[in-house]
C-alpha cells in the first residue's frame, strides 16, 4: 500500500510518489472519483442517483457492472436505468421502506457534524448567496443507510465550521427515526469516513498528488486522521477499461455532455 505520511506527525508534507507510473499518468481526477465511489457502493442492492450527478451516476453503473447486475441502479433522468412508474414520489416511498441502500448528496456548505446546506449563505431568506433549494435532502438523509456526500470543490467556503442553514441535519442524539445518514464524504482532495456516534469526520485517504496538510488547510472544521493516511487507490487497468468503454457509454444516455468530455 502506498502511503501518505501525515505531515503533522512527520513534520513534512509527503506526497504519493510511488504510484505505478503507467497508470498514474493516465487516470483523470474524474475517473479516480468514479472508481472511489464504486468501492463505497460495493455490495449494495439498490443505489439511486439524483439529478445533476454524472460522476455518482457513472460510479453506480460501474458498481452494477462489477456486480454482474446484482446491484440495481436507479438514475433520475435516465430512461434505461430508471424503472419507476409512479412519478417522482416513488423514490421517496422506496427510501422510507428501506428499499434504497445508497444515495448521494452534496452541499453548498457542509460542516464537521455532517449538516448540509443547499439553500444559501448568511441569514435566511435574503442572505448572501442563494442556491436552488433543499430538494429531497431533508428526507433522504434520514432514511438511506449509505448516503455518500460528494463535493468536488474542497475549500473553506464549502467545508465550514457550521453551515448557515441546515437543509438536512447530520446524525443527532435526538431519538428521531433515522436509519440513514452519512456513510462517507468524497471530495476532490480526499475521502472521509463519518463516525456517527462521535459526529466527526475521519480522514480515510488522500488522493494522489495531494497532502494531509492541504486537506487541513482547505477544511474549515476539525476532523480526525490516523498517523499514517493512505493514498486513495487508483483503479486497476481492467476497471479503467470498463469505465472508459461500457460505463462511459451507459452514463452518456443521461449525461451526453459529460460522456463527450470524458477524454480517456
Amino acid at each position: 500500500m502506498i502511503r501518505v505520511v501525515d505531515s503533522a506527525a512527520a513534520g513534512t508534507s509527503a506526497v504519493a510518489s510511488a504510484v505505478t507510473p503507467a497508470v498514474a499518468t493516465t487516470v483523470t481526477p474524474t475517473e479516480l472519483l468514479i472508481a472511489t465511489i464504486a468501492r463505497l457502493l460495493a455490495g449494495v442492492r439498490h443505489v439511486a442517483v439524483g439529478t445533476s450527478s454524472p460522476i455518482p451516476g457513472a460510479a453506480a453503473l460501474l458498481t452494477r457492472a462489477q456486480s454482474n447486475g446484482a446491484t440495481r441502479v436507479s438514475v433520475l433522468g435516465s430512461r434505461r436505468f430508471n424503472a419507476f412508474t409512479n412519478g417522482g414520489v416513488e423514490l421517496f416511498d422506496l427510501a422510507a421502506q428501506g428499499r434504497i441502500d445508497a444515495f448521494f448528496l452534496g452541499g453548498g456548505q457542509i460542516d464537521g457534524a455532517a449538516n448540509i446546506n443547499l439553500v444559501g449563505t448568511d441569514a435566511y431568506p435574503q442572505g448572501g448567496v442563494r442556491w436552488p433549494g433543499s430538494f429531497g435532502s431533508a428526507y433522504l438523509y434520514h432514511l438511506v443507510p449509505r448516503v455518500i456526500l460528494f463535493r468536488e470543490e474542497h475549500t473553506r467556503r464549502v467545508f465550514v465550521p457550521k453551515v448557515d442553514f441546515i437543509s438536512a441535519a447530520g446524525p443527532q442524539d435526538d431519538g428521531v427515526f433515522r436509519p440513514g445518514g452519512p456513510h462517507a464524504m468524497l471530495t476532490g482532495l480526499c475521502l472521509f469516513d463519518f463516525d456517527k456516534a462521535r459526529r466527526r469526520f475521519i480522514l480515510q485517504s488522500v488522493h494522489p498528488g495531494h497532502t494531509v496538510q492541504e486537506v487541513r488547510d482547505e477544511t474549515g472544521f476539525d476532523f480526525d486522521a490516523p498517523n499514517v493516511v493512505p493514498v486513495t487507490p487508483l483503479p486497476t487497468a481492467a476497471i479503467l477499461a470498463l469505465m472508459r468503454g461500457q460505463i462511459r457509454s451507459e452514463i452518456g444516455e443521461t449525461y451526453p455532455n459529460f460522456a463527450a468530455q470524458w477524454r480517456a
Partner: protein, 309 residues
C-alpha cells in the same frame, strides 16, 4: 371540459390563485405560461412539484408570483434561475422552502381530503423553523408501531442507536405535512381526446396534480380521435375528464424546453435567456421578445453569450 385556445386557458387562472406546476421531465405548459404572463396574472402562490426551472423563473421575473413553495429552482446545466435569485435577494417573493417528498405528501393529503400527511425525515432541518404548516407530532401508535420499513436496512438502525436514543424511543416524533390543495393545476401532456381525457404516459405524478387540485388545465401536443379510456394500453395512464377543466391544443407547447423524444431543449435560446435574465434590464428585453412571439432571443448589445452555459 372544453377544448379552448391558450388565451382562454390563461384566463382560467385567477389572480391570487394557488397554482401548481410540474417539473420539466413531467410536462411544463410553457406556451400557456407565456399567455399567463401576457395577461398579467398577479399574486400567484406558485407550488412546484417538486422543483421547477425556466417556468418558475419567468413567472417570478415577470412579477406574477407573490409566494413560491418549492424544493428547488434550477436551470440545471444552464445554471441557477437568475430571476428567482434576484427576487429572493430583493425580498420580492415570500418563500416557502420545502423538500421534494413533503410537496408530494401535501398533495397526497389533498387528494385524500385529509388535513395532513405524516412524513419521515426533516426533523433537525432549518426548513422546519420556517414552516408553520409542518408541526412535529407524536406517532399515535408509539415507537414500535410506526417504523414502516418493510425491508431490513443494510446499515441496521438498532446497531447505530446510542443509549440516549434508545431511552427516548418511547416517543416517535414525526412531521405532519399540511395538505396542499391548489386552486389550479397547469401542465403539458402528450395526448387528449375530445371527451376531455388526458394521456400522461409514464409521468404519473401529473395524476397526483390533477387529483389534488380544485381544477386542472392541460395543454397537449396532440388531440386524438376516439376515447382514450377505451384503449386498455392507455387507459391506466390517462387522467379521466372528471378532473379536467379545460384543454388547449399546443403543439411544441413545452418549447423552449424539450419534451422527451418529441423535441430537444432549445440550447441557444436557453443560453440567451440566462444571459439576458442576469439583470433586471435584460429580463425586460427578454420579456418583450418572448411576448412578441419571436423564435429567437437577441442578447443585449455588447453582451457575451459564451459565459452563460
Amino acid at each position: 371540459m372544453s377544448l379552448i385556445n391558450l388565451h382562454e386557458l390563461a384566463t382560467q387562472v385567477p389572480n391570487g390563485a394557488k397554482l401548481v406546476v410540474a417539473k420539466d421531465e413531467s410536462g411544463v405548459a410553457m406556451a400557456a405560461t407565456r399567455e399567463l404572463v401576457r395577461r398579467g396574472v398577479r399574486d400567484l402562490h406558485l407550488v412546484t412539484v417538486p422543483v421547477s426551472g425556466l417556468q418558475a423563473d419567468v413567472l417570478i421575473g415577470a412579477g406574477c408570483v407573490a409566494t413560491l413553495e418549492s424544493s428547488g429552482i434550477t436551470l440545471s446545466e444552464f445554471g441557477t434561475g437568475p430571476a428567482f435569485t434576484r427576487a429572493v435577494k430583493a425580498g420580492a417573493i415570500k418563500l416557502r422552502d420545502g423538500t421534494c417528498p413533503a410537496i408530494y405528501a401535501g398533495l397526497q393529503a389533498a387528494q385524500k381530503g385529509i388535513p395532513f400527511m405524516p412524513l419521515r425525515g426533516i426533523i433537525g432541518s432549518d426548513l422546519l423553523r420556517h414552516r408553520d404548516d409542518w408541526p412535529v407530532i407524536e406517532n399515535p401508535f408509539g415507537a414500535d408501531g410506526g417504523g414502516g420499513q418493510m425491508v431490513d436496512s443494510t446499515a441496521g438502525k438498532a446497531a447505530d442507536k446510542t443509549v440516549g436514543e434508545a431511552a427516548r424511543d418511547a416517543v416517535d416524533k414525526i412531521v405532519a405535512i399540511a395538505a396542499i390543495q391548489p386552486d389550479v393545476a397547469l401542465f403539458h401532456a402528450p395526448l387528449a381526446d375530445r371527451f376531455g381525457n388526458v394521456f400522461i404516459g409514464r409521468q404519473r405524478e401529473l395524476m397526483l396534480l390533477a387529483h389534488a387540485s380544485k381544477k386542472t388545465l392541460v395543454t397537449v401536443e396532440q388531440v386524438v380521435e376516439g376515447n382514450l379510456l377505451d384503449d386498455d394500453a392507455r387507459s391506466g395512464a390517462t387522467i379521466p375528464a372528471l378532473y379536467i377543466e379545460a384543454i388547449a391544443h399546443a403543439p411544441k407547447g413545452m418549447w423552449p424546453l424539450g419534451y422527451h423524444d418529441a423535441y430537444p431543449i432549445d440550447v441557444a435560446w436557453m443560453r440567451a435567456y440566462v444571459q439576458l435574465a442576469r439583470t433586471a434590464e435584460g429580463f425586460e428585453s427578454f420579456l418583450a421578445q418572448w411576448l412578441s412571439q419571436d423564435k429567437d432571443l437577441k442578447p443585449l448589445v455588447g453582451a457575451d453569450l459564451r459565459v452563460s452555459a
